[in-house]
Amino acid sequence: MSLTGARGLARISQNPRCDLQTAMVVGQVDEVEFYEALTRRQFEGEYGERASARRRGDKFEASLHGNNAANLRRILAPRFGYDCERMYVRSLTDEIPDHMADAHRRRYLRTERVLADVAGGYEPPSVPHLLIEPQLRLPVSGSRFVYVAPDFAVFDPAAKCYVVGEEKSMIVRGGSPDRVDLERTRRQAGAETLALRALAEQLNLCARVRDRAIFVFSSPFDVTPHPPVEEYLHAEVSEIRRALERYRAVSEELQVYGRRDEKKIIAHTHQLRINFQNSCLSSCALFYHCKSRVSETVLVLGDEAGDVFGGATELEHLYALADGTAEASSAEEAALAARLRETAALLGVEGIYSGKG
């Protein structure tokens, strides 16, 4: 549920028509504080990652990156035809830890230099086989950027360029991880792929960057990694592009440029479009707030109801059509009213309307 970096863009991509969520990402708000400031009520639900989940994630990452990324080398080497003992690894977070001033920009410059060497015709071992947490960035407007950092990038000798990778401690059973978790991870990787392409474009390497990523998940046994999975991300890259367009548009509209500014966003909330949908429940702290804004419409019954009845249709209008107290304005509405009555009869609740229609 993070709003920063690739995760923030992934969230926008899941619901690009919701300008309120986009504004929250642009303004880098604290979601719970934002909810409380907006609604003037205490946030009652649960929010944030559990300590045990965060610890597991850290443990998984440490197990992959420790000892010069021995475990990560071991599982990636066969895929790319390397000798894992001879793989050259650079960890940019080891070289420039987070606490150092201007860490993101400095790591980005180092990443840029590595890619420049690749553009200059260098291949491993002159450039690293494996980069741990390279820094990339996506331009949003003018000279402004969103920094994104894949967990790793591995050099593909066939493509002569790096492929981004994500490490997730979610457990894989029967060969595939949970669908919902995988979808978020794929979108994150889509943002990272786009950022890699943005850098490659500057170095005339664009043709070598494909819309794909490597995923490393966990097996059911402690933090032992599952064999890596490579996936193509055409759809996700396309959706992140769309998310970036929305990011730029909302940023321009609110004149908020990547710094925390909750007050400005709250002041403009009434003019920010919302797009309430099923996926909001698991991704946004404002789910119940937005649900209350659409409580009179069919959207409270879910996305399918919006698709079939029309998102702005009021529940009372449908009830009135079914019981004949409202006139159908078209043949379609008349047919709809008849079908609603049929369903009521089928489910044994025809007494629910007066049957005047």
Binding site: S52, F221, L347
Partner: protein, 471 residues
Amino acid sequence: MGTDFDLLAGRLWSRRLGRALPVRSTYSVAPDPPETFGIAFIRVAGEERVQAVAYGLMGACPSVITICNPLARGAHELEPFARALDEYLMGCYTRKRLPRVWLAHPAALTVLDLLGYRYQSNRHASEELRTMGRQCRALCEEAIFPGQQVLAVASMLLTEHIVTGQSTVEDQHLGAVLAWVDPPQGHDPATESQRRSLVPAAALLDQGRDKKVERLRRLARKCESRSELESTNGQIHALLEEGVAQEWSLLEEARTAFWRLGLAPAPPSYTERLVEASRDRLRYFLSFGANQPSRPHSLARRLDTYEYLAALVEERDACSDALVRERMRKAGRVIAVRVESVDQPGPGRNPCTLTLTTDQHVQRVRPGTVLKSADGRIRGRVVTLAQSGEGQRHIIFRLLEGVRKGRPRVGQLLDLIDTVPFDPRRVKRDVYKLMREDESPIVYHRRLPPSVPRHALPDRLLDLAEGRFRR
């Protein structure tokens, strides 16, 4: 897959009424046997390890295990659970009864499955725990089969049988669903559902208790005296017991609410087949292991089994559940027909051809479609179709079964359904045997054979067409 309009409209009416509405007239599972076993877990988020489990016969006070240090190597704390599960399953087989294990929601099923993966062949675990692992895997493998009758996941069963006045995504919270199934007097179910959604129903402690347990575990690691450690661990146990008691209570409430829907049982003629298949499969998994198929033939056999069972389930629903049958009718899968004439030269013998008429708006029928009557008396194949008037259609229907006693009379009204289960497995066994003998590299080998070079096309295509071209 298209949206089922009736289910969507059902949500609309459910919201109006202020309670859930059944969308089936029969239960999809056989009645609970006299003894059913329930399991409720509390897991460590992310690790998916058990830190508390409540288990035992449903309707009775559960046994509870709480684990202060769930990430430690040894898991002997789970041995009483392992023994209880084994006793229940083996007891059912001794008495030739179907086991029935209740879980609250899919998250509990995931925890059960992971217990299976982690212990079934764990050399560091006791034999009791390895047996538990195999049994957990067997149960979870059985859960995937259409129409299975062993594992009852309450939230999935409830949402299969009712619609609520909220969205499908909110229905994923069992407490939120129960607010609609059994709305408290004087309370709006939508508000109650939202209130209940604030408490996790996914085999987790609520965040408040979770933070306390985390803090106490950190304290426990720094305890200097035995009494201090015991006191800290005691507090952890108490919090875990509260959490798992809540999960057990949710499970009991869901099971009671399910059976209180008051639907009719499906006829034994349909259910018995599924019960027997479930019992035999589980016995096989318990005896020989529940390894997932990975080779071409075993995968193909597994898919054949899924397909056949899905057809049996659909047949049961179409023939014995009035509500489901009406929904299938709207999709054209069930057709109401009238028998206009019967052409049977030899009484009680083949051939027997019926002329049927229907004015049903949606029909998914074409020449060659095999249909059977909902009462199971006749089965036949559509020979031809023709429009015969405004909105009316004539169907010439050759009987394959039911030419004697089941033969319908002129004027009789029938429901014909397009689900005619056929068990292909015996036939396919022979097919797979032949395939194995043929050993096509496309199926059996990792690499494709080298491509066969094409011969150049002849200059005169007419020669080719007239068969004069010789390779």
